[in-house]
């Protein structure tokens, strides 16, 4: 069911269903669905732990169809995108993918996402937020067309150490040759699919892009191909755990799109989020450049960092202080996790200058609900390197056969 098919007024329209919905519903043991970008998607199939370990030890399959996708085409597409995003798109070759962010005039992040170069003058921009208005206004003066194609493409993330083996079994011959951020085109029993070696898990993994009417067919073949390699559908809770280990940022958790913030000072620049490596000041003008140059000159006021927190209680939403006494507040945790793979209590946090330097010690105020009784803990935390988990296999090409 798509929006166009319903006659209902917009405020009565139900959440959309992805082309994998029927399969997901069969596997869902908790009927635990959440809204994501206008679609209903699975939060937990069985347990978050089971799904988490599928990604780290076997293969997890995640339905990422709701990810917003824009097709950008035209002779000026490359120049347009180079003006839009902070990285140098001129360096992106055909059949390659780039992770990037894009900013408003103030140098504050509107969104992060992946940019696919599908042809000489054709790109896909995958993002968390719908922002056709911004993309169209950015196109003033450029010979490009920008259209949203979210509903025209179904997508599955196939992530984990056995993912390459499983996809070979599925019939994606040669997929092992894809290097990270490569794009390849394959056929599964005559059905054409696109695969990219990308993902949100920090592990070996691929994303498979297909026509929606072939979605169930591919899902069924994929699950069959992976049966002996521990394949498992995963929901957004497990995905959130693995992405924290990988140090990836989640919109609405680690930052809010600058166009949707209401309060002053709630928007974030890429420099504040520690994404300096994404900002190419040398490529010429791009959206937000002047503001970012100025911010770099005066130094960032705060920075998103990784924390290693003492103890084993996740520091969800903890406020951070300089001293155990909690007198001077210097930041807050945005994402927290007891990492089963790293055996560390990790967190992503926004920390004010100058306390964000590597090795800085801060104190986290953690609240624990123990059988309805709230307890407060002050525990020490250290600013550490990200990512917390970065196995060699995420980069090795071809991946080991397992």
């Amino acid at each position: 069911m798509s929006v166009k098919e319903t006659e209902l007024p917009h405020f009565k329209q139900p959440l959309l269903r992805t082309p994998f919905h029927n399969r997901a519903r069969e596997l869902s043991q908790h009927d635990s669905f959440v809204a994501w970008a206008g679609y209903t998607t699975v939060d937990v199939f069985t347990t978050p732990e089971q799904e988490y370990f599928a990604v780290r030890n076997a293969t997890g399959v995640f339905d990422l169809t709701p990810m917003v996708k824009y097709r950008i085409k035209g002779p000026a597409a490359g120049r347009y995108l180079n003006h839009l995003v902070t990285r140098d798109v001129a360096k992106l070759k055909v059949n390659r993918v780039m992770y990037t962010v894009w900013c408003n005039d103030n140098g504050h992040i509107l969104d992060d996402g992946t940019l696919f170069r599908l042809g000489e003058d054709e790109y896909w921009l995958c993002s968390a937020e719908r922002q056709i208005d911004w993309l169209l206004d950015a196109a003033i003066g450029y010979d490009v067309t920008v259209e949203e194609v979210t509903e025209q493409v179904a997508a599955l993330a196939v992530q984990g150490p056995t993912s390459c083996w499983i996809l070979k079994q599925l019939g994606l011959a040669g997929i092992e040759q894809l290097k990270p951020f490569d794009i390849g085109r394959f056929a599964v029993e005559g059905v054409e699919v696109m695969a990219s070696r990308t993902g949100f898990t920090g592990d070996l993994g691929y994303e498979i892009w297909m026509p929606p009417d072939k979605a169930e067919f591919i899902w069924d073949r994929l699950m069959e191909a992976g049966r002996l390699r521990g394949i498992r559908a995963i929901g957004s809770q497990a995905l959130n755990a693995v992405r924290i280990e990988a140090g990836f940022l989640m919109p609405h958790y680690d930052f809010v799109s600058a166009e949707s913030t209401v309060r002053l000072g709630r928007d974030r620049s890429p420099l504040e989020l520690g994404l300096d490596w994404l900002v190419d000041f040398k490529k010429g003008h791009f959206n937000g450049r002047r503001a970012l140059v100025a911010e770099q000159a005066r130094g960032v006021a705060r920075r998103l960092v990784g924390l290693d927190v003492a103890g084993n209680k996740p520091a969800h939403s903890a406020l951070l202080y300089t001293e155990e006494s909690g007198r001077q507040e210097i930041g807050f945790v945005t994402s927290a996790l007891w990492s089963p793979t790293c055996k560390r209590n990790i967190a992503l946090a926004i920390v004010n200058a100058p306390h964000f330097a590597l090795g800085s010690k801060v104190w986290a105020e953690i609240y624990l609900n123990r059988e309805l009784v709230w307890e407060r803990r002050m525990v020490q935390a250290e600013v550490v390197e990200k990512p917390f988990f970065a196995p060699e296999r995420r980069r090795v090409t071809p991946p080991a056969d397992r």
Partner: protein, 517 residues
Amino acid sequence: MQAHFDVIIIGAGHNGLVCGALLAKRGKRVLIVEGSAATGGAAGTHEFAPGFRASTAHLLHLMPRALITALGLEQQGLRFAATRMPTTALSAEGNHLSLAADAVAAASPADAAAYPAFTARFTRLAGALRPMLGAPPPRLGTDAWSDRIALLKLGWQVRRLGRRDMRELLRIIGMNAYDLLEDNFSSPLLKGALAFDATLGANLGPRAPGTVLTWLMRQALESADGNTGLAQPVGGMGGLTDALTRAATAAGAEVRTGTRVERVLVADDRVTGVVLGSGESLLAPVVVSNADPKTTFLDLLGPEHLDTGFVRKVDHCRARGVTAKLHLALDRLPAFLNLSQSALKGRLLFSPSMAYLERAFDAPKYGEHSAEPALEITVPTMNDPTLAPSGQHVLSAVIECAPRDLRAGWDGSKDAYQALLLDRLEALAPGLKESVRAVELLTPLDLERRYGNRGGHWHHAELAFDQFLFVRPVPGAAQYATPVQGLFLCGAASHPGGGVVGENGRLAAQAVLAKAV
């Protein structure tokens, strides 16, 4: 590379010329580049039929005396053929009304009593805004003392009106002209004529909010000490811009006409010069654009040098021209019903009531031109016979309203509209059609094609609260400087606005001297 000039100015309209002359006086090497064959732009005078000359902007009344003096324009040949020209509100039946203070009695005894008091007070209130129109707009949200002081000054000007006048100013400043006039007068003819001045050149009918503001601004500039009132330079408005051109060249500026600027050159986020239509590049660390913001930013500079939020604001900047201009070459003096010769030396308004005027402004909302247009008419040859062959005359009329984007398109509609306008004028001045030797009708689309102001708007950008003072034309370019270092605006879309004012050019020159070179 060696720069050829300190400053290159794109466009030799009156603001570009003022800016160039002032910068040259300060020792800058200035080049003023003009695409047309002559300087002046819409403030120039052109021959529209053999021996007949007309000025698109036909009345000088807003340029401050101090600026004329500072530029030595009279030494450069500026002469006035007429000053303090009277205004007459025409009525179709011949019951015309002079707007001179002592003549309004003809309208109604009540209006006769109210008019002088209203005018005096309105002029007083407008006076409180005058200093603001001659200073760069303060920036909002900065910590700079200069901005705070400017805001305090503005507040102080309003406060020192005294409690009653301050309250009145704050009461009316956001109002529409229709309500204000309705509150004060009864004669439809008087109200129609006054409302015409409040809305002239704008895409806002008298019932649109903000039309008191546009009227206050007009009044503030027009009533400044030493001003000439409604005036007509000898040789038409071109007499002024020719004097400006001479002032600029006398100060050392170079003026190149017939030379189009293709684009503005940028390197490392700084302006480095311009590329001409011929392909030649001229280098200068500062470029001042007399063009409208859309042309400047979207065409000459290019969105790739700007942030999308800013481009969006420029793209949204309202500039829908609805004012047309009609020039008639006449073989004899037009004979308006029951109108004295002395009135014909002045300005004639045909806006018989506010309802009539409002309807004229309604038409463009639906992509149509008004079938019953409101008019501002002058016969410049009454004061300056050099504008036409001996014994013959020119009639110059501002027409409200005809939209740039006529739904039917101008190509197939212009002749019919011209015929309609001649019929309307014939009704006011019987026999006029017979005396017409040549006609030039400039629709907003023609104005855009001739002068390059995108949208064909007289003020380059609509003058309204959301495009006024510190947000004119758009936030981020309201203090003449733009986001790109070295690029400045000086055209009608910058503060204080359109009309032959010249303050835009002076303030832009100030900004250039303060920030660059």
